[in-house]
Symmetry: D2
Subunit: 387 residues, 4 copies
């Protein structure tokens, strides 16, 4: 079994998460292809070298085109900002490399489809980074639904609630600027909820949304990086050009009713990526802030002991548990990436597409855009209008 | 201080809750007008006599018109089914009696306004039975918002989730028939959420909804009563003519974004009447299944101990606590009615309108109808279109 | 079916709770003997008359001996302070009246046994007020254990945690004075935990305890009443002569290991009367602050969905649910008294002893005293040493 | 800054946890000495080689004496079974190596003290593996106590509840055999609770305990390894020679009352290592099954919003948060080891003893033995009796 030689573009938040996943995989999982941390790439030579050394990559590049051109690389990992995903992915496909691209796949549905087409034409593996699918508690939800133990699904309620910009003096970082981020909480957080819904429930049929920017101007920093401000403030204010919150109603192809919300203005919620599912035979509840737990209810429990069970998804019956620690020993955020990379390596070994693939990335983008359109046009929009 | 002589129409679920409230009030609260249980009224002579005896009323009537005509009655309590509210209320007003009417105030906004006008013209007190306002935890939420301790409100998420008809073999009781019930979960459950939102957040501006009847036909019983089947089944099935679930998005006049859902198909939820409110200074969470608790978050807590507090609203600082038991001793569902009747007696004593009044009943009805209209016309509907 | 004519001594906290229970019983339960609120008794003529009027009693007495002597009384309810229980109970028995006595039954085991013997000799019904048994969630726990669904019981952990005297400036009320209260948190709170353990697990075999008075002196008030201070402070301090906290380990006759704690120094716990039970087939958890809930775990649940279920004990399968409200509608503290009185009325109708009887009161007292002895003598004490 | 060259003995559960910690440290923390994974050691050549390859160690040894003798090693990590800790530690000290030893430090207090003396005499750093101290939520608890924000501590309640041997057909693994494991749940789980208590509250003064082996005989396996059975069953049964559960009461030197329990018979508890602390100014609650959360209560919160706060210890104000992910992104079990190794590297760099050191290991052992003695002699035992 050969190793999979990885070249990764980006070395900040996602770069760190991916590096850790590649390193952890062989230590905890056996019988899986090994990622080889071949080269890490970023524009700032000093920054990328520091990351190379710290995260344990073999070499560093400052030009992604050089990285993509290298013939000792099998897989291009795109952990760079969203606005460069498309160009890199298409180049990687052209040079016959597998592609693992962070979400959102691209800034538009059209771009996403172009990327998907390029990857399919090149015959390479393509994966998009919806890591939350890979929490064992979410895998359990999927299993229970697939096995029919929740029955026909009537309701999906999904939320991604954060609170890091509730303070109006929080500066105008790049994530609040449309030209760089593409979207606000809708594309950043809502995309995760949409993918979760597609994974667990199926395809969206039609949507109608509502959106708001509560704080319209924010202080300008001299420089900003990621979520954090660097340097002092300029004394000026600039306009926030993305949504602070976006909500939408949805009807799924299978008849499920959906209610979805993404906001960065939910004080007290650091990272509440949650869902509840109600079916004819039971219900499921998940909250990422308690990532190891799934709440499960069955209608056919004995009538004097009906109630939501708090299942700690760390038992031997749960996904990935063999790789880690004994029951009850918590996993965390980063493990979702290790599992994601596990799926990627398995797909390469088995010569099949990983799941979620660029198809899922594009499908998610279609829903995001349908919601945007529904907001602009103040009407229900069918997903089919977009593809 | 004179007693307030009450004549009540209806003796089932709500009749029992109201009777208990009238009886409990003077025992737990001092310095408040006393309700005198003068007469209970229902069509079935045997049933009403049994209720009279059991609930402790002085006399019984079988014709509500006779009750309304009696000159030893100060207050008419309408706990009868929704379709007779209007006629009784207008007659009561005409005879100069105060009116306490269960929700929904009427089957339509037009009827609600007629009732309101009649009561105002007659100069009587008028109250509508949105009892959930009177849970001490909800009163605490109101207080925190009013005092500005939650700041500007960005989000309101309200739900009323039940599960008593998830089983498709549950029979076609009257609550599932439009001609009697007027509405399904929307009018029955959603009305409570709408009132809670109006109480805590303010007026709705525009809405868009979605609705579904998941189980379209159900077994016909020989007879049904309330939520329960009586007698055997007929072997036939009939159409469910109300909504099983209704969801809607809302924009409030003050800029808050709302997401509201009412369903009877949420397995595992016996009575989850819940809300979450996110503001610029904090957040609030409430779930009626834990009626004594309010979750409270403040953004200005010291930065190492920020988190939702579970406040048990039974301390001396909380509404109504002096009347009941020491801190930590739970109140239940029925206490919301006792507090409601307390407000009614106080309003009569102070010669002011109780809150919530018929105005609130009509305002709630306007939102319900706006949602219905938005579903039919598949577009955003402003509340102002209806009044 | 005749009514049961009640004469009650005491009109404060317990007097209010009992009055409410007698009044509520016939309204919510049918086919049960009716308590008739014949006479209420207290030393202060004005206070007892006010209570009579407010709680709805027919007449008032200021001398309990006169009350006990009345021939229009069937049942003497002793809601007076603990130090007079014995004398009243023995007199009531002597005059052939049934007795319902608040806990603790008496200030000593010897007194308890005297009371029990007097009641048995007189052939009257005798009940002691361990009301927590009557929460539906506790009844469910009992049912699951009795039916063998939890298996052999290995562990019982019981706590009664309060925090009303954490503040060292809280005054020296009578509950903190040994000559009046007999005991501190041990007798007041620990007694409830001991009764719960006996009810659910069985008899204690041996115990060893530890006790502490954290705040040794407190301000003296001019007057105090119940838990509350009245009048100003005297400027002096007096010694606290009861325990602030008492913990003990226990071995039950059936082999269960027990750990029991009662304290008034658990900041944040208003009224955490809780237990956890671990058996060979499952576990149970209860906390009175969420009185309607029982957490239930079964070892034989499917291996991918094992977890504690939060059962809301308000379903039709649960005790007393028919009498009250639909599923999910909370009951509160006072309902435990209504159910307790229901048991008393049923026992009288069926000519059997109610449960818990004076035997249970005495058995609880034996455990309390064994713990005291173990603390004094710093050794394990068998319950059999005391009887 | 030189690397710290590590030689580790043991490659099973703890070997994996430690390997991961050494590898993760430099990736997530900067400005800290780097552990160099020099050599891994175990008796089974094939097993250790497989571990070497998988966990990323440079070389492998099968004889710990050879490892200890190597001059390219700075630190000996003892992750081997408890019965060999002493001999290895003393040899490591003799050869001038720093020592990081898993808990329990040894099988007896005498051995622990010998190890401590050897390490001190050699002037090497010595650390014992009480990893739970290093959960950020526990660090927060420590900080709040140290800063006086909880006030004087009245109560400590600590539990370690597991359920992996509730099934009486679970085989007689080595952990259930006294000659190998030394102790059952007391030494395995109780030791963690004792260390937590010492860390947060201070020294124990006297204890009295109770112990039980519920299932006295278990099936013998042909072979067993760790917690898991390997190979078939022999058809025979052998005696369980350790405790299934041990509980004890404690008095701390500072006046705190303690109640501590360790059991493997708490169905539904996979890994409930929990504590509650009640002080004069507030309370703290922790449960390892929700490792990122600390419940915090303050008595001086405004009187209408008092309640336990659920603090997610992942904010920038919390220990180690800078190294990991944004707020709300869960850490897991393994992170406690990374933080532990961080402390070890810092101590070496700063030329001070790490905390917890062998002194803490020995102090914990003293409490364990005092409890054992109290059980045997059925009396309170002062810790001072043992040292």
């Amino acid at each position: 079994m050969n190793n999979v030689r990885v070249g990764m573009i980006g070395y900040k938040f996602m770069g760190k998460a991916h590096s850790n996943a590649y390193r952890a995989l062989p230590m905890f999982f056996s019988n899986v292809l090994r990622p080889e941390l071949k080269a890490i790439c970023g524009r700032d030579a000093r920054g990328v070298e520091e990351a190379r050394e710290r995260f344990g990559w073999e070499s560093a590049e400052t030009d992604w085109r050089r990285l993509v051109a290298r013939d000792d690389i099998d897989l291009i990992d795109i952990s760079a900002p969203s606005d460069v995903h498309k160009e890199i992915a298409i180049a990687a496909a052209a040079s016959g490399k597998h592609i693992f691209c962070e979400k959102p796949l691209a800034l538009s549905l059209a771009d996403s489809i172009e990327m998907l087409n390029a990857a399919e034409k090149a015959g390479v593996k393509h994966m998009v980074g919806f890591n939350y699918r890979f929490a064992p508690a979410v895998q359990l939800a999927k299993k229970l639904i697939t096995e029919g133990r929740i029955g026909q699904i009537y309701h999906f309620r999904g939320q991604f609630l954060q609170d890091w910009i509730v303070d109006p003096e929080f500066p105008l970082v790049w994530r609040l600027q449309k030209e760089i981020a593409g979207s606000g909480s809708h594309g950043d957080l809502g995309a995760h909820v949409i993918d979760m819904a597609r994974y667990l429930i199926g395809e969206f049929q039609e949507v109608i949304g509502m959106s708001e920017t509560f704080v319209k101007e924010r202080p300008l920093s001299l420089t900003t990086a990621g979520l954090q401000e660097q340097g002092g403030r300029s004394g000026l204010r600039g306009p926030v050009t993305v949504d602070d919150a976006t909500l939408f109603l949805a009807r799924f192809a299978g008849g499920t009713l959906g209610s979805i919300e993404a906001t960065r203005f939910a004080a007290g919620h650091r990272c509440t990526h949650s869902f509840e599912i109600n079916g004819s035979k039971g219900s499921l509840k998940f909250d990422f802030e308690r990532v190891n737990e799934l709440q499960v209810y069955f209608t056919d429990d004995a009538d004097d002991v009906q109630g939501f069970r708090r299942v700690l998804a760390t038992d031997s019956a749960h996904a990935y548990s063999d790789a880690w620690w004994p029951p009850g020993h918590a996993l965390g955020y980063e493990h979702t990436f290790t599992h994601e990379v596990h799926e990627l390596m398995m797909a390469i070994a088995e010569n099949r597409q990983p799941c979620p693939s660029f198809e899922d990335g594009a499908a998610c983008q279609a829903v995001l855009e349908a919601v945007d359109k529904s907001i602009t046009e103040r009407r229900w929009v069918a997903i089919s209008e977009l593809r």
